[in-house]
Symmetry: C2
């Protein structure tokens, strides 16, 4: 019998030396408050019936809104899960799939995925299946691209706020660096040319070689699509700097519920000389958000650069998509009628839930950045903080998690430079649960207001900035949503 031996405490330092620096360091970022909030949730998860006083998970960008559509399709197409051919023969394809480990992927799946990606962009972009590299989720796609484009110590410029997982995905094993492009609420957190230039100069001062810009479009955590003009500016920046790439992470493309989603690839195609830049623009995609299938681990890199496709394909050996899953999704995405209906209905439901959150917040005087995509809102709670500082943000966050019972993500975990912003997810719960969350927050805001009023009366000498919040009010007024299409049963 092998006994499971836990090393004595005094052996630990020596053990640490035994491992690599990567294993020992925490640049994987998993110890940030973003993940700590999850841990708290897991200790005491809310359930409408069995644990109504538990913590409500609003830190998880899951799309649970359209599973019934997927289940209906599975019911009608049992061959897809059953690993059988469609139609009368129904012959088993189990053997073929069990052995299928070609890292070029199942042709039927790549064709269907290419078409689905094109459909989401109004067929204004045509995706070549041979330019797709399949990966075990976007996490793996982003890391593989960094391995392809950056050497240890090279840098990518990334607009803030950005997805906390990037510190792990892009830096940890590759040794690449992230230089933040500081975006500000005064610009609605849009990426400006001045901010890009500033980040580039900062990288140069740090003697980092800049190898590219990475954007999320639609943005995580902002929930906004990148406007066409901004994309043109970013692509122009990349075009002008011959040594750099653009990674456009478009994993939320199918969640853009109003306005048109514009892909970086469209902007490139419209250039006078697209060949000059087309092999430096790479798109990351995934089915985790648009189809709500993170458990199935399906991601992709799309690139017209033959060198990137070749190297990334070889790297995909480290994270191939299960052939069982490729077969299922080839059938699902190959059903054009289904995908058309799904995409439209899924967007409608996301918008509805988004509006429920935004209106609820507005009623209690909390503003959000105006958003049109994603599974979350970017919420300004600065006026609820005792001071507009990161200490104040952390203090409020702990109250919201431990007292109010809502696990939301503080902006600081997303490297936001302005304290007071929080990412609040709305698509991973029922409308009823969202109501409970809103009600809890309303009580908290009201009690805070009472406390604040008492405190203000007791200490009128405090500077106004620390208790009032003109910025938040501005957002609250500007971003009042339409309530026309709210459903009654929520």
């Amino acid at each position: 019998m092998v006994s499971q031996v836990v090393a004595a405490a005094d052996e630990k330092p020596q053990q640490q030396l035994l491992l690599s620096k990567k294993a020992g360091c925490n640049s994987h970022g998993q110890d940030s408050s973003y993940f700590l909030g999850w841990q708290e949730y897991e200790k005491n998860p809310f359930d409408l019936v069995s644990n109504p006083s538990g913590i409500i998970q609003m830190g998880l960008a899951e799309n649970q809104l359209s599973f019934d559509l997927l289940e209906d399709w599975l019911e009608k197409n049992p061959h897809a899960l059953g690993l059988r051919q469609e139609g009368n023969s129904g012959a088993s394809v189990f053997r073929d799939l069990a052995l299928f480990q070609d890292y070029h992927g199942l042709p039927a799946f790549k064709n269907a995925l290419a078409r689905f990606m094109s459909e989401q962009r109004g067929h204004r972009v045509v995706f070549e299946p041979s330019n797709i590299v399949l990966t075990a989720g976007a996490t793996s796609a982003n890391e593989a691209l960094m391995f392809c484009l950056a050497d240890q110590g090279d840098a990518f410029l990334i607009p803030t706020p950005y997805y906390p997982g990037f510190d792990r995905d892009l830096k940890w094993r590759t040794g690449a660096e992230i230089v933040p492009v500081h975006c500000s609420s005064a610009d609605g957190f849009r990426v400006t040319r001045a901010a890009l230039d500033d980040a580039y100069r900062r990288a140069q001062r740090q003697r980092l070689r800049v190898k590219g810009v990475l954007i999320t479009n639609p943005s995580n955590p902002l929930g906004t699509t990148v406007p066409r003009a901004d994309l043109e500016m970013i692509v122009g920046f990349v075009a002008a700097n011959k040594g750099i790439h653009l990674i456009s992470d478009e994993i939320y493309a199918g969640t853009a519920f109003s306005d048109e989603f514009v892909s970086a690839l469209e902007i490139v195609a419209e250039l006078d000389n697209p060949t000059d830049v087309s092999d430096r623009v790479h798109v990351v995609y995934s089915l985790s958000k648009d189809l709500g299938l993170p458990g199935f681990r399906v991601g992709a890199i799309y690139s017209s650069n033959a060198g990137v496709v070749s190297a990334a394909t070889k790297m995909s050996s480290f994270g191939l998509v299960s052939s069982q899953t490729q077969y299922l999704l080839a059938a699902l995405l190959g059903d054009k009628e289904f995908t058309k209906g799904y995409v439209a209905e899924n967007k409608r439901r996301i918008k509805e839930r988004h509006d429920q959150l935004v209106e609820g917040l507005r009623e209690m005087g909390i503003g959000c950045l105006g958003s049109n995509a994603g599974l979350f809102c970017w919420v300004d709670m600065g006026h609820l903080m005792r001071s507009r500082s990161f200490a104040g943000e952390m203090e409020l966050w702990k109250k919201v998690v431990f007292e109010v019972g809502l696990n939301i993500s503080p902006g600081s975990s997303c490297h936001c430079r302005e304290p007071g912003w929080f990412r609040v997810c709305f698509a991973n719960m029922s409308a009823k649960t969202l109501d409970v969350a809103m009600e809890r927050l309303r009580s908290f805001v009201e009690s805070s207001s009472n406390v604040t009023r008492r405190a203000a009366a007791a200490a009128a000498v405090l500077p106004a900035r620390s208790i009032s919040c003109p910025l938040a009010i501005k957002w609250a007024l500007r971003l009042t949503p339409s309530t026309a299409d709210r459903k009654a049963e929520r």
Copy 2:
């Protein structure tokens, strides 16, 4: 529309500069003859009926021998593929699985996998599910372990011949180095203490920090289990060198068709002071060989080292196993009666096919290393080469691929230091196809003998060594297999 732009040829050097050094270099090893043979096969694949003159793939270590057993089980257990609960309710678990992306894995699957791994070792090793890290195949498991244990430029000692993919899996993205432990036919390619010491000293002379030893047990490409005494010596070597680890890649554990398979973990448990070394021994496992499911991408790291488990678990984000596949395999491996019958019958079939190959080769005067596991034999064809050199090996290999129509793997691609050895796979084809392969080889050997005799008569001045081969004859005589259990229908 985005046009798919292929860069003009003269732009390529500049493009290469744009990418990382890793993307540009070929240390992924994919351009070796091992992979080139595959490419030839893919151009003209053999089929008994539709392409009887095509190339027969004998370079692929697939296990196709027991699919009927898996298919029978799937037929009787439709809930597993259908993502439904077992029993009367048959409720769908699709939603839960779609969202399940906990990198700790599905508990039911980890429990079943731990039990299955224990079963393969006669329950002499107990595997703790919490010490298992799931990965998208053993490829990913091995790379993750290197990231955990070695910094850039650190080295692992690996006995030769070794699996050609290790150059990609262990070195490419991690920057780690492999120092070969030269094993020799004179020792039956067993790992000796002298060879380990020699490799260690060579590493020191190259100023490489040795971080461990990696063995495959059963060995790929030898098809042999590592004898208990050798394992004790290797574990002793690791125990004596406090700074190093042992990675024991046991992905062929379930193919050991005669004698008992002994895991490195058993040897550790039997030590006087196992705690001294137990956190430096790590096992890699996979379901690609023992269950024949490479397409499903299921691998695992097993370690008692909390630091390794923690870091590897975080790294597994880059290659998680699809939850759809975890659910299926939790049900399959959770069926104890099934796994017991499967493991026994699968081994019986592997032995039968192994014997068919070894006997066929013996009849034509070709010897193999005596083997008791794996899906391949390690075959000595030195006497068929015009000279016992690597040029001679490559010349023979090309003849065998292009003229004989068999894609086998030359020993040089496995870093074997003695020319003339080839890995020949036998479990990825029907018995009939193996017969065709044997018949082709027999014709080739006969015509070669005629040519050799004529050449010897015409040029009697040639040194005897280049046309005779006492070593091969020695093997051929020593390793004649029993034919008692060959079935008639092959």
